[in-house]
């Protein structure tokens, strides 16, 4: 084959297939292939793909009772699949038309409660039957071949020749000798690579500016509000009860770290109450307020068992003892729940005396430093 052809009007290359064509097309001429049967051709092709059909269990004989039974079975499966599919369609389209409306209604029974299950049941049945029909067809109506295909390991020829091309190309670049280029490439590569990653820098923000993890909206004089926004007086709660309170700031009841539990201790709890050192005056009378955000993984600790004075976090079952400064007594939490210092303002409503004196919520690396 030549890449140069000087014939007048030629585009420059020979217009006949080169001798590299080769392969089975040379071994088997169209005339020879025309003499072979379909089965022979199938097996011939398979042989070129290193596949040999060892053994064939023939399909059931046409017209035999076995075949008839199998055909009936497969056809019935497909027909049922179609039936279920159309039934699903009727329910989907017909609801709200000639069938009752599919939309949810307050009674939670009737057609709206059946709509989704029916679609699922019929649709699922239909698709499953399609699958079953296909498997039955394959198993009962197709001949069972046992074929064997050879595995080829990597070819030594391919490795050597590819290696030669790669090494040759690399050699021609002369990069091994031309150190100046290699060095400038390394320099360029690191520079361009970093430059392409540069925009990700916009994601990085300093978590320590203003200590957002250590502060909440609580501050001196901020009232304790219920979720509905009403303030609380000391007489409002029964002994032994717990109320979740929020700071009286806009959106205070949606803040992720401000939720606080206001607990009124029972008299017998008051008598054994041992707050943490330096926090003896954080409570007000028989009231104490602790952060609701678990010091373990940040879930709201919600389950207060006043008989045992324990608050349980439902996420990982840390337990905190209310009469011991909300000290963790069981489970994975390590730190007590921070206590909110509270008092009563001149109108008689509960207010915070300051923000929490430590960070609320889960522990982090430099928590103790800020």
């Amino acid at each position: 084959m030549s890449t140069r052809d000087s014939a007048p009007g030629s585009a420059g290359g020979a217009d006949v297939p080169g001798p590299l064509h080769g392969g089975p097309d040379d071994d088997y001429t169209p005339e020879r292939l025309a003499t072979m049967s379909r089965e022979e051709l199938d097996l011939l092709g398979a042989r070129y793909d290193s596949v040999q059909v060892l053994h064939v269990d023939p399909a059931p004989e046409p017209g035999s009772p076995v075949e008839k039974a199998a055909v009936r079975q497969v056809a019935l499966t497909f027909a049922l699949a179609g039936l279920a599919a159309f039934a699903a369609l009727v329910i989907y389209v017909g609801s709200g038309w000639f069938l009752p409306d599919w939309q949810w209604d307050i009674t939670e029974s009737g057609w709206s409660a059946l709509f989704t299950p029916l679609i699922g049941a019929l649709g699922g049945l239909s698709l499953t039957l399609v699958g079953v029909g296909m498997v039955l067809f394959t198993k009962k109506l197709l001949p069972h071949e046992t074929a064997v295909q050879d595995k080829h390991d990597g070819s030594h020829f391919d490795r050597v020749t590819t290696g030669a091309t790669l090494v040759g190309g690399l050699h021609n670049t002369g990069l091994a000798r031309r150190k100046l280029i290699t060095r400038s490439l390394v320099f360029m590569g690191s520079g361009v690579g970093l430059m392409l990653l540069m925009p990700l820098g916009g994601l990085i923000r300093n978590p320590n500016t203003g200590d957002p993890l250590g502060r909440t909206s609580w501050a001196e004089g901020v009232r304790l509000l219920r979720d509905d926004g009403s303030p609380i007086r000391p007489g409002d709660q029964q002994p032994g009860s717990l109320e979740t309170v929020f700071p009286a700031v806009p959106g205070g009841n949606r803040e992720s770290d401000a939720a606080t539990m206001l607990i009124r201790l029972r008299p017998e709890q008051v008598s054994v109450d041992r707050p943490r050192g330096g926090q003896e005056d954080f409570g007000y009378g028989d009231y104490v307020a602790y952060s609701k955000i678990c010091t373990h993984a940040g879930c709201p600790v919600s389950l207060y068992e006043q008989e045992t004075s324990r608050i349980l976090c439902p996420c990982h079952q840390s337990q905190f003892d209310v009469t011991r400064g909300a000290l963790p007594v069981f489970g994975p939490a390590t730190r007590p729940l921070p206590q909110l210092p509270i008092t009563v303002d001149d109108e008689g409503f509960f207010v915070a005396r300051s923000d929490y004196i430590e960070a609320v919520g889960p522990t982090y690396w430099n928590r103790e430093r800020i």
Binding site: I119, G124, F330, P332, P362, W365
Partner: protein, 553 residues
Amino acid sequence: MARTATAPGVPTTRLGKAAVEFDDRLIVAGPLRRTLNKVFPDHWSFLLGEIALYSFVILLISGTYLTFYYDAAMTEVVYEGTYAPMRGLEMTAAYESTLYLSFDVRGGLFIRQVHHWAALLFVAAIVVHLMRIFFTGAFRRPRETNWLIGIGLLLLSFAMGFTGYSLPDDLLSGTGLRIISAIILSIPVVGTWVHWAVFNGDYVGEEILGRLYIVHVLIVPAILLALIAVHLLLLVKQKHTQFPGPGRTEHNVVGNRLFPAFAGKAGGLFFIVFGVVAALGGLVQINPVWLWGPYNPAQVSAASQPDWYVMFLDGSTRLFPAWDINLPGNYTIPALFWPTVVLPGIIFTLMAAYPMIERKLTRDEASHHLLQRPRDVPVRTSLGMMALAFYVVLLISGGNDVIAEKFDISLNAMTWAGRIGLIIIPPLAYVLTYRICLGLQKHDREVLEHGLETGVIRRLPHGEFIEVHQPLGPVDEHGHGQLAYGGAPVPKRMNQVGGARRAIRGFFKPIEEPVQVEIEQRRDEHGLAAAESRELTTSGRPSDGGRPQEPRD
């Protein structure tokens, strides 16, 4: 192609002509034939990976549908939709769009539940597929790369699961997100920085759902899709492994060609998987977000649990003792860091490195295409069972509050049982599995040497009773089988070697001639009919060697 147009064998039918036109342009006949002729081995356990693949297809289809309605915005809106109990409630636009999808889109709830069920099945199929690969040694050279890709797929499926179930922004998913936030914060040194990068500030911020959404619908699926493509490409390139058996060697694959037998079965399996997921999606309620309510950082419901595949990490978090490490300079490594970051890190590193570790320890550098039966590799099998026991203890502990409540057990006792169980059950599982493997190996050898127990008792002339054993192959002069164990299942019952004739087909009345079946079996050397000359004489005991045999008639 004037040459072929005049050549013999040119198709005359319309379809044939169309095919030639097609191939003239695209030249696909060769590759197509190679694909159609590809041989797939036939074993049920090879379908597990397919189930994962089909679940992924279902996930792509159903997920695309969900994106038509879902809105990843965290702006506060007031619900005014169909679901009466929630009307007037403040919630994020994300949660509102989830409710809209569930209550105001015809069939939307069905698709959402299909998506969730398919996700659960996807991870489950991957895990079981991984177990199959592990216990049969299919990860050995040359398939380490595909093992690594598989581990990557498993990790990505976790990422898909987590980002996916955070999207509805209901109370449960918000609680999960809160825990993730705490986990990120717990990373030493960079935790708070990573948190600020991911959430664009303190928890919860305004951006996180939009970011999770794009990760869930574009970034991770794209990587998943690419990795699945490489996974399958490598599988085609390296060809399947197969269990040892007649005619099966390290250099071939015995089974069905892709077309039509394998394609029929695989296509059938796809529809069955699709059908089962669809039925689950319609009939079995999952994640009824309207019952959980909108996310509120101050609220949580009892028994808040993640989807099953993350439960083991929830379990480890519950079990890990309260051990903060306080470093000089007032730095802290939170206890939460160990069970949620370090432990999965170790688990997945060990899993990914296992093929390399085993290769180093066994010095087995050879290529393997024949699978191993778990009993034949007792150490690996026992290690796997040990890991599985560890995993199951964590999984159960992930729901220990529910178990404690349902069975009226102390919650603290459940936690301690988990902590102690985590240490003592895995070694027990190792020892037990090892003994079982050895026992099974011994029984295989026993059958090969002494034959199958036939259940036929015979009285010898001197009065002794023996149970007649059926040798599986030729025997030596002592009556001992000469077959060596080849790694393939050894028949353990007479019916497995054709002790009984196969049943005549037909449900109400026979649809084939018993005589024909008899002839067929005789031809294929199946069944007792073909084995009249087989020897059924020895007791199979070594002491029978050299004893006078019963005269044969």
